[in-house]
């Protein structure tokens, strides 16, 4: 009984991630790649994403501090982060990256600062939600299959 509850909890957590726009279809594509040979593939890729995105965001923050108004440099760094976000379907983060780059194109430094703060917030929230999801998945065991939540 407890096992089924955990499965339902995992499914519910995942559905909310989609419903609230944190994740898109790409996340399901990653889950579909998980198999017996790579049973933790999704979590490994997400872990890699957060290592990568943390590093990229540190680079961006340093670039904004040390190279004020170097919009070209900021944009190049943000392009990398956007690509990384798209790889796991981190939809809200990806959209904020796009927003930042548009503001960068307008050479609006203050706007970029605000956008970057939004991005940091989204990053933190996504990390927390995915950590919760994977924690429940681990407890639920391997029977929870990869699929887009119903109704999405």
């Amino acid at each position: 009984m407890e096992y089924s509850n955990l499965q339902r909890q995992a499914a519910s957590l995942k559905k909310s991630l989609f419903d609230q726009g944190y994740l898109d279809e790409q996340f399901c594509q990653i889950e579909y790649l998980q198999d017996e040979a790579s049973p933790n593939f999704t979590e490994e890729v997400v872990s890699l994403f957060f290592e990568n995105s943390t590093r990229l965001m540190t680079n961006i923050e340093q670039a904004m501090e040390k190279n004020p108004r170097d919009f070209s440099r900021w944009d190049v760094n943000m392009q990398q982060l956007k690509g990384s976000c798209s790889s796991i379907g981190a939809s809200r983060m990806k959209n904020e990256c796009t927003s930042f780059r548009n503001i960068c194109g307008d050479e609006n430094a203050e706007g970029c600062m605000r956008s970057f703060q939004n991005l940091k917030r989204e990053h933190g929230v996504l990390r927390q939600k995915l950590e919760s999801y994977f924690q429940v998945l681990r407890q639920a065991g391997p029977a929870v299959t990869a699929a887009r939540p119903r109704g999405m």
Binding site: Q26, L33, D35, V45, L48, Q79, S84, S87
Partner: protein, 129 residues
């Protein structure tokens, strides 16, 4: 090129990408989604050119490359004399971004992230499926 691949029965693809997460996904995609494909990887355009030259004529059936990378961009690979079909891969998908790849000599473009559907389309386009 397609004839050589058919005789070998294995398609050799070179992925040029500096970010590990994209390489990890491509490996998994090619392993699960498409059979008979061997994947090599290069982290820069310069390394890609070196691998192509070291491998000799027909070393790869296809190169899938990111745009901006350290040392040498993917846009510069064709200019270094590589004749293998090249597909540009980027999260920047506006027409000017795609044009940059095509004008640099890429044969096609696909937006990041790679997916099974995109890979199948690309391989079919170059008669590699």
């Amino acid at each position: 090129m397609a004839g050589a691949a058919a005789e070998r029965k294995v398609i050799r693809v070179l992925l040029v990408e500096d970010e590990e997460i994209h390489r990890v996904l491509a490996r998994a995609l090619l392993r699960s989604a498409v059979g008979g494909v061997e994947l090599d990887e290069a982290g820069t355009g310069a390394e890609a050119v070196r691998r192509v030259r070291d491998g000799g004529a027909g070393a790869y059936d296809l190169i899938i490359t990111d745009g901006k990378m350290p040392v040498m961009d993917g846009h510069e690979i064709r200019a270094m004399g590589v004749t293998t079909p090249i597909v540009g891969l980027s999260s920047d998908t506006l027409p000017p971004d795609v044009d940059t790849f095509i004008k640099a000599g890429a044969d096609d473009f696909t937006p990041k992230p790679l997916s099974k559907e995109k890979l199948v389309r690309i391989l079919a386009k170059f008669n590699l499926a």
